[in-house]
């Protein structure tokens, strides 16, 4: 039984069609990444799938339960971290988690112990009894995650869970996502961090202007939508890219102290570059060949700009 089944979802706001005839199935045990430019309809889709918004047309099943006819049982199977959503700053971390536990129907006897152990996992054991008002952004996000997973949901929705977090907090969040996944949860997340989607997700959907443009495994998306190959080279000193001219060098982009060289034949291009460096007596600091990238695939699909 699929964890998430959406059929022909449409949602309009005035003249804008935020989600346009979206049909999507996410199987149990997947980590599904939902990508798209700003305003593409990611948050609206998550709001529809989690019952915060009702679709104009279309049906949704979560773990086989129809969200429209049985919203409360369906919502009990989910954990949700909304975009830009806060936890109660007047409550302590532990009170926030036990409130979430109560709302998800956990028995009173389990709530406190669950909340304490979860806060310890999230690195907040020593702040558990402080009001959330005094917490940093990353700490609040961890409380928010705790509220979403206290009932060990079958399906976890996260809307940009790592945006604005430092490296440690981001690792903690992605670690938590992996852990929930290992314990059998299905994960549906949106992100603007394409590397993160690439390393975390088993499947990716790309939405553009409300329309689901592509869904597939990350490697397949790359191969299908990004046919270019490139070489990334860095020299020990600054080199003006215009000195390179070769029929197999199609384009050169400056990326920090590196040059990204787009080519149709990596073998000839590498030999050319190495010969040039040797002739000019310039040391090569690093050299990588890059396969098709998810970022290029994303740009190819969402296009225009």
């Amino acid at each position: 039984m699929p964890a998430i089944e959406a059929h022909h979802l449409t949602r309009r706001f005035g003249s804008i069609t935020a989600v346009d005839d979206l049909t999507l199935t996410v199987e149990e045990g997947e980590i599904f990444g939902f990508l798209g430019p700003n305003g593409a309809g990611k948050t609206t889709t998550i709001r529809l799938l989690t019952g915060v918004l009702t679709p104009d047309t279309g049906t949704i099943r979560i773990a086989g339960i129809d969200l429209r006819t049985d919203p409360l049982p369906a919502k009990r199977c989910m954990g949700i971290i909304p975009e830009n959503s806060a936890v109660y700053s007047d409550l302590t971390a532990i009170q926030n988690l036990t409130l979430a536990g109560r709302l998800y129907g956990l028995p009173a006897a389990d709530r406190n112990a669950r909340a304490r152990s979860l806060l310890a996992d999230l690195g907040l054991a020593d702040r558990a009894d402080e009001k959330v008002r005094t917490f940093s952004k990353g700490m609040k996000q961890r409380v928010s995650i705790g509220c979403a997973i206290i009932h060990e949901p079958a399906v976890l929705f996260l809307d940009e869970p790592t945006s604005g977090l430092d490296v440690q907090s981001r690792r903690l969040v992605t670690g938590m996502i992996r852990r929930m996944h290992d314990q059998g949860s299905t994960v549906f997340l949106t992100t603007h961090n394409i590397d993160e989607a690439n390393t975390l997700c088993t499947r990716i959907g790309i939405i553009n202007r409300g329309i689901l443009a592509a869904t597939d495994r990350p490697e397949i998306l790359k191969q299908t939508f990004d046919t270019t190959q490139s070489i990334e080279i860095s020299f020990a000193r600054e080199i003006d890219p215009s000195v390179f001219s070769h029929p197999n060098v199609l384009r050169i982009d400056q990326r920090g102290d590196k040059l990204r060289i787009v080519t149709d034949d990596p073998d000839r291009a590498v030999k050319y570059l190495a010969a040039w460096a040797d002739r000019e007596g310039v040391r090569i600091a690093s050299l990588n060949t890059l396969g098709p990238s998810l970022e290029e695939a994303f740009l190819a699909i969402t296009g225009e700009s």
Partner: protein, 248 residues
């Protein structure tokens, strides 16, 4: 006993409201200080018979306290960005509103009960018919708490605006009710206007139970309060559902 999910959710929401919103300054100002000042302004130093106006004052206290928590909650949650998460929990607009009503009603009930008991002890006023007083307390607090949640419906995430607006709505309801001039003394047109205010029926219930000077009759009073509760409740569900995404 396993309560249906709907009521479990409503009770959890009510618990959250009690914990977070009872201590907010606007509740204190508009729920407690306001009726006290009105009482002082209109009753003190005018040599009025306390027993004659006391039922009106009790009704006004109950009205203000019960309807002062509700307007605050939804705008506050929208402003603090906790509302979307609340919607994503196993709740519906209906169970969220019921939770808000329960919290408001409990606040009104508790404070009005304290005032009732204190004044019965201090001024040895007549107790009246305890069953009617209890019924009036229950139905009155619920109806006015529901008015409070209805007043929270405007699509605003600014609690101060909503509190001001709700005071603007509640004050006229007091002035046209039979608090300052007993219903029996009101003339034709004024009496007709008084019947529009839900507070009139609560005042009449208390007057009847405590002084034996009710005009409308307890059964009609209770039925009117019930009707207002249903009207306010339907309005709250309708408008809150319509404005659910505003301010998210």
């Amino acid at each position: 006993m396993v309560l249906p999910l709907f009521f479990q959710g409503a009770l959890a929401v009510a618990g959250k409201n009690v914990r977070i919103y009872y201590t907010k300054p606007p509740v204190f100002i508009f729920g407690l200080l306001f009726p006290l000042f009105l009482f002082i302004a209109f009753f003190m130093g005018r040599g009025l018979a306390l027993s004659r106006f006391y039922p009106g004052f009790l009704a006004m206290t109950l009205f203000f306290t019960a309807s002062s928590v509700g307007p605050l909650i939804t705008p506050w949650e929208k402003r603090d960005r906790t509302y979307e998460r609340l919607l994503s929990y196993p709740l519906t607009i209906g169970s969220i509103i019921l939770g808000d009503i329960l919290a408001g009603a409990l606040f009104g009930f508790a404070i009005s009960l304290v005032i009732l008991v204190a004044s019965l002890l201090i001024f040895s006023l007549p107790v009246g018919d305890p069953f009617i007083v209890l019924a009036a307390f229950l139905l009155g607090t619920i109806a006015f708490a529901t008015l409070g949640t209805l007043l929270a419906s405007p699509a605003s995430d600014t609690p101060a605006t909503v509190m001001m607006l709700s005071t603007l709505v509640r004050l006229p309801l007091i002035f046209i009710s039979g608090i300052f001039i007993p219903l029996a003394d009101l003339g034709g047109a004024a009496q007709a206007v008084a019947y529009l205010s839900p507070l009139t029926y609560l005042v009449d219930l208390f007057q009847g139970a405590m002084n034996g000077t009710g005009v409308i009759g307890p059964a009609t009073d209770l039925a009117a309060l019930l009707a207002y509760f249903l009207l306010f409740g339907a309005g709250a569900v309708y408008f809150q559902r319509r404005n659910v995404m505003k301010g998210l």
